[in-house]
Assembly symmetry: C2
Homo-oligomer: 194 residues x 2
Amino acid sequence: MQKNRSEKYHNILDNAGAVFAKYGFYKATISQIASRAGVADGTLYLYFKNKDDILYQYINYKTGIVFDKMNNAVADGKTAEEKFRNLIRCHLQEFQNDRNMAVIFQSEVRYLRDIQSQIKDISKMYLDLLSDIIEQGQIEGAIRQDLFVGLVKRFILGAVEGVISTWVSAGGRYDLVAMADPLVDLYLNGVKEG
Amino acid sequence: MQKNRSEKYHNILDNAGAVFAKYGFYKATISQIASRAGVADGTLYLYFKNKDDILYQYINYKTGIVFDKMNNAVADGKTAEEKFRNLIRCHLQEFQNDRNMAVIFQSEVRYLRDIQSQIKDISKMYLDLLSDIIEQGQIEGAIRQDLFVGLVKRFILGAVEGVISTWVSAGGRYDLVAMADPLVDLYLNGVKEG
DNA sequence: TCATGGAATGAATTTATATTCATTCAAAAA
DNA sequence: TTTTTGAATGAATATAAATTCATTCCATGA
């Protein structure tokens, strides 16, 4: 039953994620995390430098996973539209699969900003993926030329985050991934008749 | 030079906003706020119940102002498209005018969620305005009938918030309101060619 | 069976800061 | 000028929780 170092590290990280998601970083206590992880308070300090470091490691770890999945999703598409649809679907899928992560990414905006220089920055990677997709789409003739690309990228990311945020607030009770196609339709065609 | 009760109250509120925006709610201290407002620590407790109450009052106050402006902006438009454009422009304008507010609304998501039942909820009001605009637009024949309205509303709000968030991260260095028209164009027409 | 060393423990310590309240101040009234 | 009264002060207090570290545990190997 004894776990190796990595298993215990990830066990603490997972439970920290649950506690951070439930109470928020500042209201969460070391004791809550330790007791949920089934270890003593002091044990956390064998694996992490301090409380901040727990959140830092958590975000870094989760970011790495999502990072890879999104890159793969995009690589799986051929046309710009396929790549784009894959990216949005993957995004929704990953956040639906890990609600704690979704809550933390959404709630600890301030913290994320403070550390985003030392960490793989998921937003930056996302925006870069979108740059490539848009450029490819413009070459293919599938996407308008007269776009302010910087704005379009923020527009797209903001809207997905908004949709995820609503899903989180609703307690994750509906299928988030089902939003992918209607969402892509809105991005592509807008809301105007005709 | 002595201020009446209301002036002093608002002076504390403004300075609290600046400190919350700079350090975040939890890292901000009562002493910082008091000293920035030019009063003693204890004085804050003559005007506010406790630290939480300061943020609560701040949000409530700012929400009320923005609330009214947005309602007026929409009322000033005639067609759905005018109303919509006025709303987006007003939104960007108000947040550009008050960067501290923008930062706080963006950073204290968790806190906002925790109190949003006791407070005028700006998101809810916003989504309700959008419902009306979309419905009117569909009647006018300017907006598609085949829309999932719940999604469209979150899509729109999310995208504006994303654009504001980027502006905040960039230190508010460019003109946010200039984004209104290109943004509305994206909502209406999407990114697809043709 | 005993000895060893690294891991885990959790009570005690430290630190930080929110909050209180006895005291002071200052404006207006007498 | 003196008194009164409510506001303001800020040093002292209370509290909560992060962090430390002397002690205990336990798996391993002699």
